[in-house]
């Protein structure tokens, strides 16, 4: 028994020495409380060990990887920046899904662990972050440099709507998107539809869908006309329908939402009918993660998905892919989506400055263009589309311009106090309608009630 113990201790000791070299902050298993600087972030301030010099360390949390080697891409950008700015050292840290990063916010909210210096989080997290007094506005940085002012003027206004509040700029857009409609040009041709244009209106959507849905001799569907995901964050794609029918789901203040306006109820009815009445969509809740795979496999002709998936979908589809606006009803409409840069309050001013320099780098026209090319996210500023690399790219991949062009019709993504829960409430209502559990009017009335109750705790 003692021998086993000794052996075990030896093994553990060996392992501990072995793993210490991996990152500067690998706390040994038997260590005590994590040092304050090491708290919530990845790499930290104090160690000169890794960089060997007095560079200001900035850890940068990024959430979702948009499929593909995003870690490599971001590390590449960080390396480029670090090389050009030897007095700063930025370390990107993949922090999990959007939900994971939010969890980390909540945790820090409850008083423990320090946030990283810089993070990309959902634009809709802004209110939560403000409520928790966690983030600093970028105002001073913007106003103190010509580049800063130029940046704000150059960013597409649609993106700024979820980034500014009360005259302050709390977030700088980074990986932004809108949903778009992807369609399989081959399947369009086979069904006698024009492969160069997606469905323009809601009526077109249904008509196309019916022609594209194929069934076998037993009546089972072999190819679906349409898939619109409704798990995860169903409110996002639904906003497209609501806005297209005339009214967004947000109220005019962070403690107000508009879930059960007549036009919104009608929008949900239309959404639910796609699977229940028109039968061009699979019944039940469609899973976000499965949708691109189904599309690439040719199992569905049209899908709604984020423009951030563009690069991957183009890579994996063995047929020509068309991209178009979300179909219109009263008007075209789409929510914006994606994440902003945020800097955190409890950070040392020198690090905040260093973080800002990295933000400037990442949002420069060239870098913004490159990021868009690498992923499919929309480049956040207009001048990025004048960059030569981007000009070449859009010749080869004209689909990349669709989301940008849709921006003129784009509106604010659903956000409020207690954002996640508000989104969850609306999402549940949407799922209830789609699964047929509850008619849209009842579901949305219920959601409005719950949301009002939740938001009543906040005075504005």
């Amino acid at each position: 028994m003692k021998r086993i113990m000794m052996l075990g201790l030896l093994v553990v000791a060996l392992l501990m020495t072995g793993c210490g070299t991996d990152t500067p902050t690998a706390t040994p298993a038997s260590g005590g409380p994590s040092t304050p600087a090491a708290g919530g972030g990845g790499a930290t301030a104090t160690t000169a060990a890794s960089s060997g010099g007095p560079a200001t360390e900035v850890s940068f949390y990024y959430p979702v990887a948009v499929g593909g080697p995003i870690s490599k891409i971001l590390q590449g950008y960080a390396d480029k920046f670090n090389a050009a700015n030897p007095d700063v050292h930025v370390t990107p840290v993949f922090a999990g899904g959007y939900n994971d990063v939010l969890t980390k916010i909540q945790t820090a909210l409850q008083g423990g662990g320090n946030p990283p210096e810089l993070a990309v989080m959902l634009s809709t997290d802004m209110q939560t972050l403000i409520d928790a007094d966690m983030i600093s506005p970028f105002d001073d940085f913007i106003n103190s440099s010509a580049d800063g002012k130029a940046l704000i003027d150059d960013i597409y206004p649609a993106f700024l709507r979820n980034s500014q509040q009360d005259g302050h700029t709390y977030g700088i857009p980074f990986q932004r998107s809108t949903p778009v409609l992807y369609y399989n040009k081959d399947l369009f041709k086979a069904a006698g539809l024009d492969p160069e244009h997606g469905p323009a209106t809601w009526d077109d959507l249904v008509a196309y869908g019916k022609q594209l849905t194929k069934r076998d001799s037993n009546g089972n569907v072999t190819t679906w006309g349409l898939e619109i995901p409704s798990d995860g964050f169903p409110y996002w794609l639904f906003q497209g329908f609501a806005i297209a029918n005339g009214q967004n789901v947000l109220g005019d203040a962070p403690n107000k939402v508009r879930f059960n306006d007549p036009s919104t109820v009608a929008a949900l009815q239309f959404f639910a009918d796609l699977s229940q009445k028109d039968q061009i969509e699979p019944p039940g809740v469609v899973i976000w993660n499965n949708t691109p795979t189904d599309f690439e496999a040719g199992k569905v002709a049209m899908v709604y998905h984020t423009t951030g998936s563009l690069t991957t979908i183009l890579q994996k589809s063995k047929f020509p892919v068309g991209v178009s606006f979300l179909p219109k009803k009263q008007q075209y409409g789409a929510p914006t989506g994606g994440g902003n840069f945020y800097i955190f309050k409890k950070t040392d001013p020198a690090k905040q400055k260093a973080a800002w320099r990295f933000v400037q780098f990442m949002t420069s026209p060239e870098q913004a263009a490159q990021w868009s090319i690498d992923t499919g996210y929309i480049a956040i500023r207009k001048s990025a589309y004048d960059v030569p690399a981007m000009k070449d790219y859009v010749v080869k991949v004209p689909q990349a311009l669709v989301a940008r062009d849709q921006l003129q019709y784009a509106e604010k993504e659903l956000t409020a106090h207690n954002s996640t829960q508000i989104q969850h409430i609306l999402g549940t209502a949407i799922q209830a309608a789609i699964t047929g559990k509850s008619p849209p009017q009842a579901a949305l009335d219920d959601a409005q009630k719950q949301a009002d109750q939740l938001l009543s705790q906040f005075s504005k």
Partner: protein, 315 residues
């Protein structure tokens, strides 16, 4: 051991020489040192959290109240008035009813069939036991893929048999059964081992006597095996119930509680409340409810099952 020069003492625990009371007390308290780490651990991570959890559930601590504010039973009132919470409780009970008896039944059948000296029986046993070796998160990932309506194995097989293509994880009536199948598959092999152990410790004479009396296999099972195994069944049921109430990993990976809260089980709901919605006070209240439910169900299991359990003589 070297021979020590100790004054001869009579054998047995009673000591002829009279040690001082102090020495005896000292030695006794030294015994307590042996169990101290264990006791401390249980105090710190089982008993204390119990008390602290109940206490903290009386405070509002969420995004509207960043600093805890005493509120009495308000969190519980909120739970009672929350239709989603009621749904979650129902889901949890359904899931437990759907997985526990089935897993136990399959485990017993497998143990009966595999309790023999067949060549390769080890391999057969492993074929059922191996899911235990894998973390639920990886298993859930695989099953998420398998349940994928258009490209997954389950529907591909069903379609080949012209049986349609249900949306397993996207239909609020199918999602819980889909998770139950996964749960049963994962743990039946584990429970089977306990039944195997139980079967192997059963007295052979009883079976020989029964065979002589002409008892058929079904009678033997009902009248002899099942009652003799009741202790094992009790044990296995307790494990299975506790496991069902702690189901979280597969929900995290596969459904996030949806669609429409249909697969939201209690412990996962507590997690969402604390970490997604930022409401720690409410989550503590939910924990108290969970513990109460667990206590009720486990006690019922013990009382109801224990009364019918038959134990061998303790050796």
């Amino acid at each position: 051991m070297a021979e020590t020069t100790v004054p001869a003492r009579p054998a047995g625990r009673a000591q002829a020489a009279q040690p001082s009371r102090l020495r005896a007390t000292f030695r006794d308290s030294a015994n307590y040192l042996l169990i101290l780490p264990t006791l401390l651990g249980i105090l710190a991570f089982t008993l204390w959290p119990l008390i602290a959890g109940v206490w903290n559930s009386l405070f509002l601590q969420n995004q509207a109240h960043l600093h805890p504010q005493f509120a009495g039973l308000e969190n519980y009132a909120r739970l009672v008035n929350d239709p989603v919470f009621g749904q979650v409780l129902g889901n949890t009970l359904l899931y437990t009813l759907g997985t526990v008896p089935a897993s136990i039944g399959i485990a017993l059948v497998l143990a009966l069939l595999l309790n023999r000296r067949l060549r390769g029986v080890g391999w057969l046993r492993s074929a059922f036991f191996y899911p235990t070796m894998m973390p639920m998160v990886s298993v859930a990932t695989v099953w998420l893929f398998m349940y994928s309506p258009q490209v997954g194995l389950v529907n591909a097989t069903l379609q080949a048999l012209h049986l349609g293509s249900p949306n397993w994880l996207g239909d609020d009536r199918l999602v819980l059964p889909a998770l139950m199948v996964l749960g049963i598959w994962k743990q039946s092999g584990y429970l089977m081992i306990f039944y195997l152990a139980g079967l192997q410790s059963l007295p052979k004479e009883v079976y020989e006597a029964a065979a002589l009396d002409g008892a058929g296999p079904w009678q033997t099972l009902r009248r002899i095996t099942w009652p003799l195994l009741s202790g094992t069944t009790l044990f296995v049921a307790t494990i299975a119930i506790a496991g069902a109430f702690q189901t979280t990993d597969q929900i995290f990976i596969m459904t996030d509680g949806g669609p429409n809260n249909a697969s939201d089980l209690l412990l996962y709901h507590i997690y969402l409340t604390a970490f997604r919605f930022g409401d720690l006070g409410l989550a503590q209240a939910g924990t108290v409810v969970l513990l109460a439910m667990l206590l009720v169900v486990t006690t019922a299991n013990l009382v109801f099952g224990g009364r019918r359990a038959y134990y061998e003589d303790a050796r």
